[in-house]
Amino acid sequence: MEYIRFENVIPNVFAHRNDIFSDIWLKDVEFVKGQKYLIEANSGTGKSSLGSFLFGYRNDYTGTITFDNLDIHSFSKKKWCDLRRKQIAFLWQELRLFPELTALENVAIKNNITRAQKKKTILEWFDMLGIGDKTESLVGKMSYGQQQRVALIRALCQPFDFIFVDEPVSHLDESNSDLMGVLLASEVERQGAGVIVTSIGKRMQMNYDKIFRL
């Protein structure tokens, strides 16, 4: 997948508002593979909606979103499953980890279907992000900051053309946030992928090609 294009898109909840001043809503915007984008937003401007649309989790919008000129409205459930395994990776703001599984199991449950990373690499990433001793801990017992790091590792356990990371460092200190930025950037670089990062204040450090205000 080379392009994600937004044409005149607006979430249904904003449809009756005429005070929308956004770089994305109701505009024609294109995200290109290999580029890094930052979307800065205030609360309640539809940031999570944007992610949900891109990931086929919701479709309550008007306008057209296309992946390489294909309207994503027409995608079947099966097509979305394929996309989520092979083309778009996602780090949810609410993480969507399984609290009853350990940190490593949470990553394995994704890697088992993609077979994208070796266990050695995964363990190295745990070490790199400073949670090497937490692999066998239940996610439900970990702090939110630690969970954010587990969620990032899980998101990277797949091939992707684009990765969408929704407020990835909201609960991290600067040094940990930078470490995540480095890991993300290196994997994005390796895969030649595009990255879309959102932030409502604290931003992950990266060399962004373009910054949007939502």
Partner: protein
């Protein structure tokens, strides 16, 4: 898959599943027992050498006092016979043709008449006759007429008359070498033939001559127009078929046997088994709903986990699989126990059957096997679809 199962087994309620197993087990046992019991009972009615088995039924019209007095026609018309032939439960219809001439038979030994009687002949098409003999044929001009007597004539003599008078019993083969003098009178002629007894029929209770002889002789010795047959022999698929009994009674036809009484018993049995099967089916259906509701509840309680798995890229089929396997496992468990119970109960009633009917050969277990396979496949397929649909609805 282990991890997925670890997630999805959360919230499984053993009580609900045991409830389903018990309910479904009861329904399944009722259905399987009903089917198997019915097929075992059918073996009694339709067994190869069963006392109730007879594929031929002889019918005549009811003779009422009025018709006797008024001399009303008691024969079957062509329309009536055609109607009989059209019935699905009747395979073939054969006419009894009576002799239209006078017949007397005598038995001579060393030129002296030992025995002489007036008698009559009847004929039916050869395929309805249960005696197979190569002597059973008549060509025009033959002076020899083969004759078949009812088996019970011989029995009556051997076990009744001969027994009480201390006379020797007569075998079929001994009678076969005797020659009867058959004198036929009619149409102003009188001819003598040799009668040879070629066999005894337990199916047809009359003195039979080949149809070819009868047709020729009726033309030769009688000037009467063709008469309608008073008796018919029917070849039927199943003499216990209640459709046959109903048809015969509706048309005021009588049979000479009580064979058809079996049909009333079978009919009642069918009604009872039908009711039992319906009850079993209702219980099974209800238990299926219990399982469906349990699974709905389970999917609902685990909906967040299922959604997250789907968002990780798991396909609907993959996420549905653990629950589908669970449903299939439960169905298999029920099947296993249902069969065990069927086996035990069947052995009990077969013992009783065998004590009543020593020659009884039970039917195979195939009917129950088929039924449970069909039920298993049906419920599993429905479970599979219901689960997949429910899981699939969790995402747009």
């Amino acid at each position: 898959m282990k991890l997925v199962w670890k997630l999805l087994r959360q919230h499984i309620s053993p009580f609900q599943l045991i409830g389903f197993i018990l309910a479904n087990l009861i329904g399944m046992v009722v259905i399987l027992l009903g089917v198997q019991f019915y097929s075992d009972i059918q073996a009694i009615y339709n067994g190869e050498d069963s006392f109730m088995k007879d594929d031929y039924v002889i019918i005549n019209k009811k003779t009422s006092m009025m018709s006797s007095l008024l001399g009303g026609a008691n024969g079957f018309t062509d329309n009536e016979m055609n109607d009989l032939r059209r019935q699905s439960f009747i395979e073939d219809v054969g006419m009894f043709t009576p002799s239209e001439y006078e017949v007397s038979a005598s038995f001579h030994m060393r030129g002296i008449t030992k025995f002489s009687t007036e008698m009559f002949f009847e004929s039916v098409p050869d395929k309805f006759i249960d005696v197979k003999s190569d002597k059973w044929r008549y060509n025009e001009g033959d002076t020899r007429i083969p004759i078949i007597l009812p088996q019970n004539y011989l029995d009556l003599y051997n076990f009744g008359f001969a027994q009480s008078k201390n006379l020797p019993k007569i075998s079929e083969s001994l009678l076969g070498i005797l020659t009867l003098r058959i004198s036929i009178t009619g149409n102003g002629r009188n001819d003598v033939y040799d009668g040879k007894i070629v066999g005894f029929s337990s199916r047809i209770n009359t003195i039979l001559v080949p149809e070819s002889f009868m047709l020729w002789a009726n033309g030769e010795y009688s000037s009467n127009a063709k008469v309608t047959p008073a008796r018919l022999i029917l070849q039927v698929n199943n003499p216990t078929d209640e459709k046959l009994t109903t048809y015969l009674s509706e048309h005021n036809y009588m049979t000479d046997t009580e064979k058809l009484d079996a049909s009333k018993t079978t009919f009642m049995l069918r009604v009872i088994i039908g009711i039992v099967l319906a009850i079993g089916a209702v219980i099974c259906l209800l238990s299926f709903f219990i399982l469906t509701l349990s699974i709905y509840l389970l999917v609902q309680k685990n909906s967040e986990k299922i959604q997250n798995l789907l968002l990780l890229g798991y396909t609907v089929a993959k996420v549905s699989l653990p629950y589908q396997m669970l449903a299939m496992g439960l169905n298999l468990t029920v099947l296993f126990f249902a069969f065990a119970i069927l086996f035990i109960v069947r052995n009990l009633y077969l013992e009783i059957f065998t004590s009543f009917f020593p020659n009884f050969v039970p039917s195979s277990i195939v009917p129950a096997l088929l039924t449970c396979s069909v039920l298993f496949i049906l419920s599993s397929v429905m479970n599979f679809m219901v689960i997949k649909q429910k899981v699939s609805r969790l995402l747009i």
